[in-house]
């Protein structure tokens, strides 16, 4: 650094110290997590008639039927035995679902912390038949998406907050 720079630095400090103080409002958005207990999530599993597909995720195809995960919501069942006319025939409500696999008469899927087993032998009447609870809790704990008191984070609500800032350096007012 040469002499000119030092002088410049010195003067800029003077400038800062001479500045006025400001009061101002600062507004910002917070994303407050929405929690749900695993008990309520476990109770909400159901099989219903088809509904519109949104936010599709993972796929699994077995014996003419296609299972499409709707991220975090559940699993759609498509009758694809006639590929020219695939039919959306049912939906499993399964909160926190991302992944799935099938074998024989069974569908294996995640629901937040749990691994859930469904009997798919009757495609028109799919039912939950087993569940390994808290199987994926390590992942949700590590990601800060779960704690024992409040349950799992199922979404976020946006909130606009305003804060009154007193006697602040004007130059730094808009941080």
């Amino acid at each position: 650094m040469n002499l000119t720079s030092y002088i410049f630095f010195f003067f800029s400090f003077l400038l800062f110290s001479c500045q006025d103080k400001c009061d101002y409002y600062r507004s910002y958005t917070v994303h407050d997590p929405i929690y749900a207990s695993m008990e309520s999530i476990r109770d909400s599993v159901s099989f219903t008639i088809s509904r519109e597909i949104n936010n599709p995720g993972k796929l699994n195809y077995k014996g003419g039927y296609l299972f499409i995960s709707e991220t975090k919501k559940g699993i759609h069942i498509i009758d694809n035995r006639n590929v020219t006319n695939p039919i959306n025939i049912g939906f499993i409500t399964l909160p926190g679902n991302y992944d799935l696999a099938t074998k024989g008469d069974y569908l294996y899927a995640d629901s937040y912390l749990d691994l859930v087993v469904f009997d798919i032998s009757d495609i028109n009447s799919i039912s939950e038949v087993n569940r390994l609870k808290n199987n994926f809790d390590n992942y949700y704990l590590n990601q800060g998406l779960y704690n024992e008191d409040e349950g799992v984070i199922v979404g976020y609500k946006e909130e606009l907050k305003e804060e009154y800032i007193e006697n602040h350096d004007c130059g730094l007012a808009y941080d």
Binding site: P56, K58, K62, P86, Y98, G104, D105, V117, Y139, Q143
Partner: protein, 259 residues
């Protein structure tokens, strides 16, 4: 040849045998790859759950879990295997698991089904990267962007004839590749909002773009017995394809309206 393959498939189905031939991802000679017997469903390339014989494998960001499902109704948790960071996809093929991670592709063998054992890692630039395998080659798409880090958008073909030493065979540039599927001489690459591509890969030194459907969205595919099932943000689309003639033809769509 196709007929012969179909017959082979029918035989497999009718026997419901637990052969070591993987059944998934693709539908050609050696390309059946995501399950392990005909009774097992076929996943897409983005899958993080997969079934090989009597074992279910699940992955999260760091961990592979194994479950014995010989009693299918009652999965029994067996083991946690630490995989490192940024784990994204799992693809079983020929008694091995190919695991797509943000840092590269890991190969694990299933000699001990309860506890898959690391064989090797093919390192690449940080990105999102599903993997499918056929014969001596793994096909990996690398996608850059904010959620994936990294800047590359490409297809890497990796020579895995020596599983201990996977080596880059060739790289082809892509637009925004997501999931992919391989069947015989057909390679399907989903390009997100940029459509769907079908390549002829009979010459891996010079793969040839046969068709690019630009006006659909696609994020993953399952090619199975000449039908390509495609999921995209705008719908579930299906095509008939013929790898010998290098043809692909639209069949149907179930539209999807994203919220």
């Amino acid at each position: 040849m196709k007929k012969y393959i179909s017959i082979l498939i029918i035989v497999l189905i009718s026997c419901e045998s637990s052969s070591d031939l993987g059944l998934s991802g693709g539908g050609g000679e050696t390309s059946f790859s995501a399950g392990s017997d005909s009774n097992t469903g076929i996943g897409g390339s983005m899958a993080r759950f997969t079934i090989v014989d009597d074992y279910l494998y699940t992955i999260d960001s760091w961990t592979l879990k194994s479950y014995d499902i010989s009693d299918q109704l009652n999965p029994v948790y067996k083991e946690d295997v630490n995989l490192g960071w940024g784990i994204e996809t799992i693809f079983p093929y020929n008694g091995n698991l190919f695991i797509g991670a943000q840092s590269g592709m890991h190969i694990y063998n299933l000699d001990n089904k309860e506890s898959p054992e690391w064989i090797s890692t093919y390192d690449h630039m940080t990105s999102c990267d599903p993997v499918v395998v056929q014969g001596d080659y793994a096909f990996v798409t690398l996608r850059g962007g904010t959620e994936c880090q990294g800047f590359n958008n490409q297809l890497d073909i990796i020579d895995i004839s020596d599983l201990v030493k996977p080596e880059l065979f060739k790289t082809y540039s892509m637009i925004n590749p997501h999931g992919l599927g391989v069947d015989d001489n057909c390679l399907f690459i989903t390009e997100g909002e940029y459509g769907l591509k079908m390549f002829d890969i009979s010459n891996l030194e010079n793969i040839e773009l046969i068709k690019h459907f630009e006006d659909i969205s696609s994020i993953d595919v399952i090619p199975f017995m000449d039908v390509l099932m495609v999921i995209g943000s705008d719908g579930f689309h299906q095509y008939n394809y013929d790898c010998e003639l290098g043809e692909i033809e639209y069949i149907s769509t179930i539209p999807i309206n994203n919220l």
